[in-house]
Every structure is written in C-alpha cells, then in structure tokens.
C-alpha cells in the first residue's frame, strides 16, 4: 500500500502533471473568488479540455480546481460579505464583521490555514478509510439522513437572533421557498402561481424549475449588506489603517484553536462522506458547533475569529469525504464530485466498486492531487491576503457598481434566466427587512437548504421502515441524541441573549408600524402557501401545508408579543435605530433602487449594455469619480463580461431593443 502511495506521489510531482495541477489550482482560485461560480461551474468549464487528455494530467487538473475553490471563496465572504461559493456561507457571519474592524487579513489567513488543514485532513481520511468505508456509508439509510437533516434544522436555535419565534418564522419561510418547483414525492408543481396564471407563462415556467441555491444565498446575505454599506457611504473597514501583522496573527489564531480545527474537519469529512445530505449545510453545522463548544461565545456574529476557523476547516475537509462514495460506488457526495465523475468518465476512468481493487494507483493519484493542490492553493491565498484586504479601505460607493454588476451576473449565472434576477431582488428586499427587524437570515438559509431533504427523507423513511425497525438502528438513535443536545444548547444561548437584550435597548424602535407591515406580509405568505397547495395530492401538500401552518402560528405569536409589549422591548428590535444621529445616511429605498436600476435598464436595452452603462453613470454621478476613471471602468466591465460570455458560452438576457434590431455579439 505504501509503495503504491508514494509511486502515485512521484507521478504527480514529476512530469507534466504538476503543471496541469497548478493550472487547475489557478483556475480554481479564480472560480472561487467570483461569487456564483463554485467547483461545479468551474469543473464543467474544464470538461471540454479534459476530453482526450492523458488521465493522470486530467485528474491532476480537475482535482487542482476542485480542491481550492473552498479556499479562495473566502475572499469575497470576508471582504464584502458575499459568499464566493456555497461553502463560504457561514464564513460571512464572522469574517465580514472582522473586515469591518480592519482585521480582514487576519480573518483571511486564519481561514486559509484552517482550510489547508481541513483539506489535508480530508485527504488523510480518504487514504485511511477508502478500503473499509463501504459498510460505513451503507449504514446511513434514509432514516439516518432524515435525522441528519433534522439535526441541521436544530442548529437554527443556536444561530438565530434574540427572538426564537422570529427565527422559526424565517426557517419556515426558507422551507416554503424550498418547496417551490416539483414536489419530490408526487411530482407535482407547487407554488408556481399556476393556479392564477397560465402554465406557459414565463413566471410559472421559471418557478416550476425550483429556486437555485446561489440565488437565495447571494441575495439573502449580500443584498442587505451592500445596501447598508451604500447608505452609510463609508469603506468596509471602519478603520482607515488596517491592523498590522494580520498574517501572523491569523496563523496564531489557527494554532491556538487547533482542537476546534480538528473537530470541525472531522465533522466536515464525515458528513461529506454520506451522499444525499449535501454539502450545503455542513458549514452551518460546524459554525454552530464552534459557537456552542467554545468559551465566551458572546462575540459570535460580531467578529469572532473562531466563527471563521470552524466553518472553513469543515468546508474543505468535506471534499475528501465526498470523494469516498464517488470513488467507491460511483455515487457522488457533492455537486463538485458529481461533475468530477463526469470528467473521470471522459478520461476513461470509471469510478465504481471495482476501482479500489483494480485501480488503486489512480485513487492515490486523486488523493495526492487533493493534498498537493491544497498546499499550493493555501500558499497563494495567504500571500495575497494582505494586499487584497486593502480593498476594505476604499470608500464603498466606488466599489459598489462593480460589486453590483458582479452580483447580478453571479445570480443570473445560477440558471441563466431573467427569473433569477427578479426573484433575487424580491428575496433581497425581504432580507433587508429581515436584517433590520432581526429575523434570522441564517435560519431562512438553513430552512431552504434542508427543505427538500426533510420532505423526501421523511416520506421515504415512513415507507421503508416501521417505528420499531427505526428505533433499533444505533446511528439513528445517536443522531436523535445529538439533535436533542443541539436544541438544548440553542435554548441556553437564547436565554443568555434574552438577558443581554433586556439590559440594552439601543436598537429598539419606538415606531412599530413597519414591523407590523412586515409581519402581515409574512402572514400572507403563510396563508397563501396553505391555500394554493391544498388541491394537490396528499403527498404533495402535506409538507408545505404543515410548514405554512407552523409559520402562521409563529407569526401570530409574534403579533401577540408585539401587541402586549410596550414599545422598547426586544420584539421591536429595529437596526434602523443604530443609524439614527448619523446625518450622512442615505435613504433605504434610494439605495435599493440603485441596486435594481441596471435591471430596469436591461428590460429595454439588454443586460450587457445596461451593466456597463450603469457602472459609468454610477461612478460619475453618484460616486463623483472622474470622467476618465468612469469610462475606463465601464469599458473594463464590458470586456470582462465579453470574455466570460465567450469562455462560458453564455448569452446575456436580451431587452426589448434586441427584439427589434439584430446586434453583433456580445450585445445580442
């Protein structure tokens, strides 16, 4: 075994493979940095080039890319509060507040070291268990997956804001958004407005396809942050001078939290190992784990470095775990590994049960590529952490048009449809108010991510097992205990928050009307869900109706709390108050309007022209930049978009103009 292991290392580092590996790493770093592109998109970009390559080089290139996406996606998460890919969702929670404190370089380098360790941990685990993992994976049946999903939901308690009911309403809303599209058990279309609109209406067609994860993730986190930064017209970092020695500080943070890193890496690989639960909730689970197991966790969410270290260790270790079922059974454990499998087939390597016996050398090649790529990726990222974090000292109004273009592009790229942009705007506006009134956005995200798993596995578990069968399955029982413990620690944290919230009232608003309007909107959504799913088959409607009823109930409870409380109690939390007394503040709706104005423009002249124009107008009129700078910037954006359009083979949404006149690429 060891001979084969080191022979594989020799093949990787000698000859042309190492160049392909580095090429893969570089592409992976870029793909990770651009929000909306993850490993899945990046790898599919490589597929046409992989076809016809020599297998070891092809594997090295694909693994190079896949291994570093979860490393570099931390850049946008920390610097601008936008997750670079799905595996950086939780990093935003504490990474972005750290950037605001002027500690972006520290947060980034701590993240990269954790990420490196996580990646190597995954590789070691993969080496050790690949030959014995079969019974472990098969021990996780649908019952266990259901409990894992429920465990995922139970961490909502530990992550939610000061009001548990607001958190629960948000989780329900997330699950309702997750219900949009085809129901898993009855294959019916749900919540797609087909009850009021004609079925071939574009809105119905769009919603029928379901909502893409990145659309929700970007709009729910990035939209409110950017609106807020724009309103205050400042740089991300509240300090003009960034803290010195961020690099070493990050390394020290990493070293002093080594056991947290180890635990979270373990969580990441183990959950990654189980196909079916999906990598998207791993971050939240390890974030919650970090928060509940460390001492003095009051600063979580406000810039605690451990809130970065935890999820970053697990987000990279999951790839090693996810490779195990991919290579053993040909059943990928994540979106990235699914495409990797397609690529391996193109190379003539077909993963499956026989691979461990017949092609162990190739498995070791994959493992080494994973490890070596992680090292390269981390070195490059650490070296870039400091210079790039200077971005946080630039006035945000100058950065905003580029970011807005980037985000709109990333959202559009999810399914390349107009619907993505419109839906994201809708969710984004809701998210602005959720942030303001302290409805947990994390809860919405977790509800959304797990909605489908809970519904599917609940239904399947009921079909596959009887109660007595379930309760003799040891892993199932252990997971029940873990979930119970998670709920218990959630309650403990909320009680603690209660005390703090009652002692300080700086964010409590005297004006309660906006709160009532928002609550009524949520109430309407729950009632709508119940009514429009009522005509479906039993299996299609039971889940959305139950969620709708719970959401209705929680809304009523909040309403009662608001009704009996005097203004100034925590149920009236309104972050708007923090901004009072700040005279330079811009109006909320004005900034939202800026955000969506390129979309309005696109309706007429198409997305491509409108984005460049928007950058130009915004920079010269609102940011008051020089004409030359504005012009160069907008042309730069146009060239970048054209390059992406060329390499990604994508068209931008056309407007009315394009319907009348034939225009040359890339405007058409």
């Amino acid at each position: 075994m060891f001979e084969a292991l080191f022979a594989a290392l020799a093949t990787i580092v000698s000859g042309p493979s190492i160049f392909f590996l580095i090429l893969g790493v570089l592409i992976g770093l870029v793909v990770g940095v651009i929000p909306g592109f993850g490993g899945t998109v990046g790898l599919s970009l490589l597929l046409p080039f992989v076809f016809g390559m020599e297998p070891v080089s092809g594997i090295a290139m694909m693994m190079g890319l896949l291994s570093v996406v979860a490393t570099s996606d931390t850049f946008p998460a920390v610097l601008i509060g936008v997750p670079g890919s799905v595996s950086a969702q939780a990093t935003v929670m504490d990474g972005f507040p750290l950037a605001k404190k002027g500690q972006a370089a520290r947060a980034l380098s701590a993240a990269f070291f954790s990420s490196l360790f996580g990646g190597l941990f995954g590789a070691v685990l993969l080496t050790m268990v690949i030959q014995i993992a079969k019974p472990i994976i098969l021990a996780f049946g649908t019952g266990e997956m259901l409990m894992l999903a429920i465990f995922g939901i139970s961490v909502v308690g530990t992550l939610t804001g000061s009001s548990i009911f607001k958190g629960l309403v948000a989780a329900c809303l997330g699950m309702i958004i997750g219900c949009i599209g085809i129901s898993p058990a009855s294959s019916e279309y749900r919540l797609d407005f087909s009850t009021i609109l004609e079925v071939q209406n574009p809105i119905v067609m769009y919603l029928g396809g379901g909502i893409h994860l990145m659309v929700v993730a970007i709009s729910i986190f990035a939209f409110p942050e950017i609106v807020e930064l724009l309103r205050s017209n400042k740089a991300v970092s509240e300090k003009a001078e960034l803290e010195k020695s961020g690099w070493f500080k990050g390394l020290r943070d990493f070293l002093s939290n080594k056991f947290l890193v180890l635990r979270c890496s373990f969580i990441g690989s183990v959950i990654g190992l189980i196909p079916g639960i999906g990598g998207s909730c791993i971050d939240w689970i390890s974030y919650s784990h970090a928060k509940t197991t460390v001492k003095n966790n009051e600063n979580f969410g406000k810039g605690d470095i451990r809130g970065v270290i935890g999820p970053e260790s697990s987000s990279n270790s999951k790839e090693g775990g996810a490779l195990i079922p991919t290579l053993l059974f040909g059943i990928p454990g994540s979106g990235g590994t699914a495409i990797l499998m397609g690529g391996l087939i193109l190379l003539g390597v077909d993963p499956g049960i026989t691979m461990v016996d017949t092609q162990l050398d190739l498995i070791y090649t994959i493992i080494w590529s994973l490890a070596v790529a992680n090292i390269f990726g981390a070195i490059i990222c650490v070296a870039m952490a400091k210079p790039i974090s200077q971005l946080t000292t630039i006035n945000f109004t100058i950065l905003a048009p580029f970011l807005i273009s980037l985000i709109l592009f990333a959202i559009f790229n999810s399914t390349r449809s107009w619907g993505d942009l419109i839906f994201a705007t809708f969710i984004g506006v809701i998210a602005v108010y959720m942030k303001r009134f302290d409805y947990s956005r994390v809860a919405l995200m977790i509800g959304f991510v797990l909605s489908d798993s809970i519904e599917t596995y609940l239904y399947q578990t009921m079909q596959f097992y009887t109660f007595s069968e379930l309760f003799i399955r040891p892993i199932f029982l252990v997971l029940i205990l873990v979930s119970a413990f998670s709920i218990y620690s959630g309650i403990k944290i909320i009680n603690k928050k209660d005390k703090i919230a009652n002692t300080k009232s700086d964010v409590l608003n005297a004006k309660s009307r906006p709160q009532w309007v928002f609550l009524i909107l949520l109430l309407v959504i729950s009632v709508y869900t119940i009514f429009v799913t009522d005509h479906l088959q039993y299996l299609g409607k039971i889940f959305p109706i139950s969620v709708g009823l719970f959401m209705f109930l929680f809304c009523i409870i909040i309403g009662i709390q608001m009704f009996i409380s005097k203004s100034g109690t925590k149920v009236f939390h309104d972050a708007e108050n923090l901004l009072f007394g700040n005279t330079e503040i811009r109006s909320q709706w004005l900034t939202i309007f800026w955000f969506i104005s390129p979309l309005f423009l696109s309706v007429f002249i198409g997305f491509y022209i409108s984005i460049g124009l928007f950058v130009f107008i915004f920079l010269s009129k609102i940011a008051r930049a020089s004409l030359r700078f504005s012009l160069i910037s907008s042309i730069g954006v146009w060239i970048t978009l054209a390059a992406i359009s060329h390499f990604m083979i994508m068209d931008f949404p056309p407007g009315i103009l394009q319907g009348y006149i034939e225009l040359p690429w890339p405007i058409n």
């Binding site: 046409p48 076809f51 058990a185 079925v199 040909g330 699914a338 397609g342 087939i345």
Partner: protein, 353 residues
C-alpha cells in the same frame, strides 16, 4: 451582348451554388443541451461534439451550451422559440428521454413538437432489472410466484419520468411493487438497494455493467431481465445480455398473453422514447437541405470514428448509433408518437397510484 448576359448568369449561378455549399470553416457551431453540465446528456454531447467538428465541412468549433433555464422542458421550449426557424444549422438541439417523456405524457408546459424536427443522429441504451439476493430468485419466469410473494420495493424518481418504463412493466406483470418516490436519479435508487431499503431496481446498461455486475458476480444481487433492444420493429433480447430475457418475453411467459394491445403499445412507446433511441441530435425542419445533408453525412462518419465510439459505448453500452434519414425518422416516430388509445391509457395510468 448575349455572351455578356450568359456570363453574368453563369457567374450568378456559380455564386448561388457557392453560397449553397455548406461550409462551416472558422465558425462555431453550438449544441444546445437542455441539461446541466456533467450529467449524462452533457457527457454524451461533449463526446460527440469533437467528432462532429472533425466530420462537418470546414471543421467548425463545436461547443456545448448547457441551457437550464426552466429545466429540461423550459430549455427545450426556448430552443424552439429562438432557433425553431433557423436555416443554417449553427445551433443544433440535443434531447434525451427526459425531454421525450413529458411530450408523451402531454405535459401542459411542453411547447416543442417533434414533427418540426429533423433527426441527425441518435444513441440508444438499454436497462437491466435486478433484485437483491435474499429475494431467492434466480430465473424470473420460473421463480415468478416466489418473487410475487416477496416484499418488493422500488425507489423511483417519479411516474412521468423514465421510471414510467419500469413502473408500467411491474404493473403489467402484476408484481405487487411498492413504489417509493423522491429518489434523485438512478444513482440514488442504486444506493437504496445497496442499503437494503429497496429490493428491486434497474440501471441503464453502462451503469449496470460498471456498478451492478460486480455485485452480481459476488452474489449480492441477481439480474432478472432487460428491457430488451429493438430489432426489426420488435423488442427482443438485448445483445449485450443474451442470457437475460427481455421484458416482452417475460410478459408473455408469465401472463400467458401475447405482447399486444394498448398496454403493450404504450410500454413500447415509452421504451423507445426512454431507451431504444434516447438521445438525439436534431435540426429544425426549416434547415436547408444541404445543411441537413452535411450533418447527416457527418453523423454517418462518426459511427466510423473509433475514438468517439469508444466513449459513447462506455457511456451508453454497446448499442447501435442510429444514423441515416430513414432509420432515424422511423425511430423518432416510434419514440414520440403514440396512438390515441395508448395516449388515453397513459393519461389515466399516470393518475392511478
């Protein structure tokens, strides 16, 4: 004067024919795939793309464009809306069973019409049904009553997906199979039978050979039948698995009826759409004759291209790649048109539990 006119006439004639001759040199031809990157249809398209590039006049660059806006149905509708009247064959359409099935089941969202399409190239596959060893079955026909008495559970993606083929087959055989929905693809179905949660499953040929055959050899699973393969208008034994009976054969042996009538016709239509000729490269009917010809010639050349065929065979199993106008037209017709009786039957069958 006359000479001059003739010369002009000849010149113009020449230029017209020159314009007519299809030449893609320096151009980029797009394959419109209504599925996401990395999936089965995408890999298939990326495997044949370079082969088309090598065999089309002028050797254009062939790129695959994954359109996922509105899932398979929406993306297919979009192709017809945007390119349904194209003449130049610059954007071709790649379909698969998941595009054909909603068409057969008359999904209200479908706006595409197969009769407006010209097939260029088609790839087929087959499927193998297998059960867990503990069912105690070795021969489905001899042990049929034994199988019937077992707890049969099948994990499915949904009744109007490709799974219509197995579910209708189980119904026709009278097997009391408990169908559990919500599986994400055939891979999830395979995972469930490995865990022992389901007891009967099928996989497409390539996946069977790779992932299930080793288990059959180890004695964990037992292969019982195939869906068969088309030969001479009938569905007979799959040449990849000559020892396994095809479904129509099993049906006749077990029920004592001939494989005829509405149910059999409906099943055959589903089988053609989902397996026998599952993936098509198509041009809109509006395409110029020369364009169609150029593509058809290229398709015929691909079949002789061993590198491309190796990947295709690996992806889909060794089945005939259908080329040639006549064979394709009859295959497409079988895959996408059913008589009104079968249609009515399928509509009511779809709604029963």
């Amino acid at each position: 004067m006359l000479k001059k006119i003739l010369a002009v006439f000849a010149a113009s004639l020449f230029s017209v024919t020159a314009a007519l001759a299809v030449d893609y040199s320096g151009k980029t031809v797009t394959m419109w795939i209504p599925f996401k990157a990395g999936g089965g249809s995408d890999t298939w398209a990326r495997a044949i793309g370079p082969a088309f590039s090598a065999n089309l006049p002028g050797n254009p660059t062939v790129v695959v464009k994954n359109v996922t806006d509105g899932k398979a149905i929406g993306a297919s509708n979009k192709y017809f809306a945007e390119h349904g009247k194209d003449k130049d064959g610059m954007v071709v359409f790649g379909t698969s069973g998941s595009v054909q099935m909603p068409f057969i089941f008359k999904d209200e969202r479908v706006r595409y019409q197969y009769k407006n399409m010209v097939p260029i190239f088609a790839s087929g596959t087959g499927g193998v049904v297998y059960v867990r060893k503990d069912m105690g079955v070795t021969d489905i026909i001899k042990d049929f009553d034994k199988l019937k008495g077992q707890k049969l559970v099948y994990g499915s993606q949904g009744k109007t997906s490709l799974d219509a083929v197995p579910i209708l087959a189980f119904d026709m055989l009278g097997l009391p199979v408990n169908v559990v929905y919500g599986m994400k693809g055939r891979k999830a179905g395979r995972a469930a039978i490995l865990r022992g949660e389901t007891t009967i499953d099928y996989q497409t040929t390539a996946s069977y050979l790779k992932h299930v055959k080793p288990l059959v050899e180890k004695g964990e699973m037992v292969a019982v039948m195939t869906w068969g393969a088309p030969s001479g208008g009938e569905v007979s034994r799959d040449p990849n698995f000559p020892d396994l009976p095809a479904f129509p054969e099993v049906y006749e042996a077990v029920t004592g009826n001939k494989f005829k009538g509405t149910e059999a016709k409906s099943w055959t239509a589903l089988f053609y759409a989902g397996f026998a000729t599952q993936k098509y490269v198509m041009l809109p009917k509006s395409a110029k004759k020369d364009v169609v010809k150029a593509w058809q010639n290229a398709a015929a050349a691909i079949v002789n291209d061993p590198a491309a065929m190796k990947v295709l065979n690996k992806k889909l199993g060794k089945y005939d790649q259908v080329t040639g106008s006549k064979a394709l037209k009859s295959a497409l017709k079988k895959a996408t048109s059913i008589d009104s009786k079968s249609e009515k039957f399928l509509q009511s069958w779809k709604d029963t539990k």
